[in-house]
Structure formats: C-alpha cells, structure tokens
Symmetry: C2
Subunit: 120 residues, 2 copies
DNA sequence: CAAACATATACCCATATGGGAATGCGTCAA
DNA sequence: TTGACGCATTCCCATATGGGTATATGTTTG
C-alpha cells in the first residue's frame, strides 16, 4: 500500500502546501485558473491538477465563465480538520494544562472564577 | 518529485488516519507501544513506524520505562494546523461579520510579541 | 472558416509511502 | 548465562504522488 490518496479527505488534500496556497488565494474571492498560475508562479497544468484534487474533496467549487473557469473556496470539508485539531488545543496552551491540575485538585469546577487568587 | 515527506510537518503527519488514531489514543495519557498495538489492532512494526513519524514532527514525546517506551502527545505542532484552518471557519460559520473583523486584524502584524491571544 | 486563447488530460519519471515479514538490540526473569 | 519480552529497524514491494512536457477539448475572435 502507498499513502492514502490525496483525494481521500481534506486532511490529505490540505497536506500539500501548494493546495493550501491555492485556497488562501481563493479566500479573497473567485479566481480563474490563469490568475492562480500567476499568483502561485506554478505551471498551468500543475494548478489544474491541484484544483482537481481540491474539487474532489469538495474544497472548491467551479463556475464556467466563457472560456475561463472560476474557482471559489468551500470551507465545509475543513470543518472536520478543525474539529479534530481543536481537541488538542489544550495541549499547546499551558494555561489549560495548569487549570486542569487545579480543577483536578479542587475536585469540581467552580461555576466561575470567583477571584480565587492566583496562588498556583 | 513525489509527495512531500510525512515528516515534513504536522499537516502531512496527521494526514494519515492511523496516526490520528494514535494521537487520539494517547490523548488519554501515556501509553506503551504494546498498548497502542492492541488498541489499534495494527502490527507492532507499523505502530513503531507511525510513532517515529509523529516523533519527528514533534507530535509525541517518549520516555523510557524499563523495556517499554511510553509515548505521550505534544499538541504544539498542531497549532499551525489549527491556525491555518481557523481562517476558514467563516466559510462554514454563519457569523461572517464578526469573523471578518478578526481576519482583518490577522492581516496586520502588531509589533507585540507572543502572549497576545485573548487571555488577558 | 481558421487562429488564438483558457483549461483539462495524458504521459513519463523519481520518490516516499505504508504494510508485511524478519531481525537487531536492550531489558527483565530464571 | 540463557531465554523471554518489548520495541526499533531493515528489506521488499505495489502504489499514488507532483512536476514537466505535450496535447486534447472547448470558446471567443477575425
């Protein structure tokens, strides 16, 4: 087996830096392939291929405009990523960690910080 | 060129479902490789290899305990993922207006150093 | 109609992958 | 010491990747 396909889910699709750049560029609004080619400095086929992947996971939508194709972001699939990562927020935020200890010792969570002081 | 190495960053490391499972399992606390083997139903070498990747990107720390090795999560590297994805929250959240303000502020880099956040 | 333009596909290729199986190596038990 | 245990590493391999280049498809213009 090789690595999971990039089109498997948003996790894989977004692992590629170039695709993140594309999404960032599209964050400002609709853009045609040619615009992205200029903005990213990538070859046109490469951009089209990245867009294909993004489309397959639903991260972008397309709209025909004459001989151009306008792409736009659709962040919905990123929600899964966000939700998963959010669970680890506490692990890079020391405060939560300390708070956890404190709460653990107290045995219960006070309804609000009643100015418990900063003891430690 | 092939795909970027899985050890390139948290984005790539976490794109693999098994590695996410490992992190989820470790979220409860330290675990030995053998524990993970049982929990995930994977072969031991595979688990060790996934742990290697996670270690290389700093997502887990190890600790020797006799002939076992206890792994624990370190969510720090996930912060980059979280921060990037958070930019797109507005695309699946209805509160555009509020988010717009936030994004606007993110667009500028205040001279302040770390610690800003909203802690207060 | 043909020519120019915009985009998508097809091919080719070097590369890292993740699983399987075998093995190396340090640690604990008898 | 020998042997069992726990884990890491190595080798093998099918597979998808992303970039490069060439080409096919569709659209607008002359």
């Amino acid at each position: 087996m090789a690595r999971a396909a990039t089109t498997t889910d948003a996790f894989n699709a977004v692992a590629e830096p170039r695709r993140r750049e594309i999404l960032d560029a599209l964050a400002g609004g609709e853009l045609a392939v040619g615009d992205l080619v200029e903005l990213l400095g990538l070859a046109q086929p490469q951009v089209s291929k990245h867009l294909r992947v993004l489309r397959e996971v639903g991260l972008v939508d397309v709209r025909d405009d004459g001989r151009r194709r306008l792409y736009r972001v659709n962040g919905a699939p990123l929600r899964a990523v966000h939700d998963w990562v959010a669970q680890y927020e506490r692990l890079w935020n020391e405060r939560f960690d300390l708070m956890d200890d404190v709460l653990d010792e107290l045995g219960t969570r006070p309804p609000t910080d009643a100015g418990t002081g900063q003891g430690d």
